[in-house]
Symmetry: C2
Subunit: 407 residues, 2 copies
């Protein structure tokens, strides 16, 4: 497998989070030469929040975890890479019950306190025995660390994805670390997006869930590789409380301003790593929309630009084809007034007030378009709505990877 040209220089040095243990094992369901199972073991008293795919064809694991997550009392999250157990009917849900209750017995927990995520091919029955045979290893081994965990959840990912930050809550030092997988947004066969973030901060369940939803909207929900949505996308946020701060009860508590910013930062870092690993990606594209009616409208316009195959192929060709940006803004259905539209690429304003700037010369843009990081900005009116999303270009590599993936 070729490694993405946008791979970060190295996996970050991430400390263990007190109250969380990461273990891995090899069941060989699809990948024979590396670990393909990961468990995040969580100390009692921790709280767990989750955000899941909105797909109507959500996989069995998603339906289980979404429901059980509401208790916020999970003691483990287990993950297998190689089979998504999606669109597998009643048997698929029975397999989830078998796995979660089975693993619970190994760690002295209740079945409902084990969450699960599965990633891989859709529609194939799961061979549970391969996984349960590794439960003893997953339950008992020492902490394997974030890099090993990030590697065990990979499918088509060309690099392991991790990010972390330290900050303070009320004068108490807390850590925040996470890993993710995903390389299309989202290739349903195997490039499901999964994220696992853990902190030793003490945060109450409702506040934790609110923080996760907000950060997801600005990170994993603000990226797109190909507009497709997986049946298995799941993001988990675990707060163990081991840092010893006084438990935070509300997401808008000013004492966690710094923590909130760190969480946004870690999740945006992970999300843009997924885009950097987008199938065939050669450039990371940042799209900033301002002046929209509201944030939701700005987000829709930004996603319309980010998902436009014509915009994405133009960037692959290093062409500052701003006319395609005009088209993509126009088709978003947000009733903008084109006579107020301003478009810039690489910080250079190209069009203003509904028309190209007189005598505009594209030459200075050539160096920007030849680079790895492309910036597209559009001001669509005088409203307060702004949104930033990330995508990658659309290249021959995307076709190569996806036109004959399963076979």
């Amino acid at each position: 497998m070729n490694v993405s040209p946008l791979t970060p220089a190295s996996f970050p040095d991430l400390p263990a989070i007190r109250g969380v243990r990461l273990t891995t094992a090899r069941c060989g369901m699809k990948y024979q030469s590396r670990d393909d199972l990961m468990a995040m073991l969580i100390d009692p008293g921790s709280h767990v929040a989750g955000v899941f795919t909105k797909s109507d064809t959500a996989a069995a694991a998603v339906r289980w975890s979404r429901e059980r997550c509401r208790n916020s009392t999970a003691r483990a999250i287990i993950t297998n890479a190689g089979n998504a157990n999606a669109f597998t009917g009643e048997q698929g849900m029975q397999d989830v019950v078998t796995l979660c209750t089975g693993f619970a017995a190994h760690i002295g927990a209740k079945g409902e306190d084990v969450l699960i995520a599965s990633t891989g091919v859709i529609g194939e029955p799961l061979d549970c025995a391969l996984i349960t045979a590794e439960f003893e290893t997953l339950a008992k081994t020492d902490d394997a660390g974030w890099l090993a965990a990030a590697n065990a959840i990979r499918t088509t990912d060309t690099f392991a994805k991790g990010a972390g930050m330290a900050c303070e809550i009320d004068g108490v030092a807390v850590q925040l670390c996470g890993i993710a997988k995903g390389s299309g947004m989202i290739a349903p066969n195997m490039a499901t997006m999964l994220g696992y973030i853990a902190t030793d901060a003490a945060i109450a369940p409702d506040a934790l869930q609110a923080l996760l939803v907000s950060a997801t909207n600005k990170s994993f929900n603000a990226i797109t590789v190909d507009s497709d949505t997986s049946t298995s996308d799941s993001v988990f946020l675990v707060a163990t409380g081991a840092a010893g701060n006084a438990e935070i009860g509300r997401a808008d508590d000013p004492r966690i301003n710094e923590f909130r910013a760190a969480l946004d930062n870690v999740m945006q870092d992970l999300a843009t790593q997924i885009v950097r690993d987008g199938e065939g990606a050669s450039k990371l594209i940042t799209i900033d929309i301002t002046g929209a009616r509201d944030e939701s409208s700005a987000h829709k316009i930004a996603m319309s630009v980010a998902n436009s195959p014509l915009v994405k192929t133009a960037i692959a060709g290093e062409d500052a084809n701003w006319g395609r940006v005009v088209m993509a803004v126009g088709k978003a259905g947000q009733s903008i007034d084109q006579s107020c539209l301003t478009i810039a690429m690489g910080g250079v304003t190209i069009a203003k007030d509904g028309g190209r700037i007189a005598g505009f010369d594209e030459t200075p843009l050539a160096a920007h378009m030849a680079g790895d990081n492309i910036l597209i900005e559009a001001r669509v009116g005088d409203g307060p709505g702004a949104a930033r999303v990330w995508t990658c270009d659309l290249t021959y590599g995307y076709i190569r990877i996806n036109a004959d993936y399963r076979s």
Copy 2:
């Protein structure tokens, strides 16, 4: 330019429509070696209906024609290929006025009775003088026929698109002919979708408009190449009344049942020709959704499948990857129950009631997937809603054409 492998064997033999004259000329704005201007000259007393792009960044020609079309009294529709006059601000609208009033003077009509369509690059000022210099030719020459007209409106099209049918209204023989252009849906630089259909039937303005809207929803609005929407898409339907039938006042008049079917047929023929000429297309894909809540819901699910890059690349790879169809149905946001989902490809049922058919063998599907015409069917529930849409596969050719188109 390579010709699409899905090009029809020949352009159909289309008769002239009494009351309509088609002329062409060469202004050389972009294409030097062929005609690039087309006029449809319409006898007084005819009625004209139009349907236009919903883009917020609609081109000047669209804004003019949409408004003037309401009178239903147009005497000409002029078209230039090579410059879309889109996102050109105030000057762009002044240029439209110059062209329409200028041409009106050559045919003894009012400026408001000349409609216009422009296709080509976005954001470049139009050189009106090149076009007006050819007005005498466009106004005075003999009928050039449908093929010459279809060729003059081409941009990235690799073949001329025409279709026609004869039928009867109330025992009177009437003709229906049309041409179209478009090869992405829609590459805004030049692959705008334009359609011109003419009949000698006598049909009142409101009925004509209703017939056009209905037929467009089942044809041009039911195709997609890359989910992008042009700033210039326009479809015109002219009814001259020269056939001599008693004028039809209502679109649901049973006397035009046959005509209505013929119109749907001609427009679907033109629409699928556009898909066959989709940038890089190697296969025509028909998607049939049944069992949805209503027709609109079925259409949304069908378009979600048709616009999925993962479905389209799988078909390019001749892979019957039905899991990607499950994903695309699921992401459409139509609240379907996956346990009721049935999926077939090439007429072979693959999955039923939420899971793959036990012991399903893909081997018989290989011949279908290797062919030019791919059929995907999904039954998503027990509702009455059904929709059919067409798309093409996503290939290296699409990237090649679009990654470096403008330069």
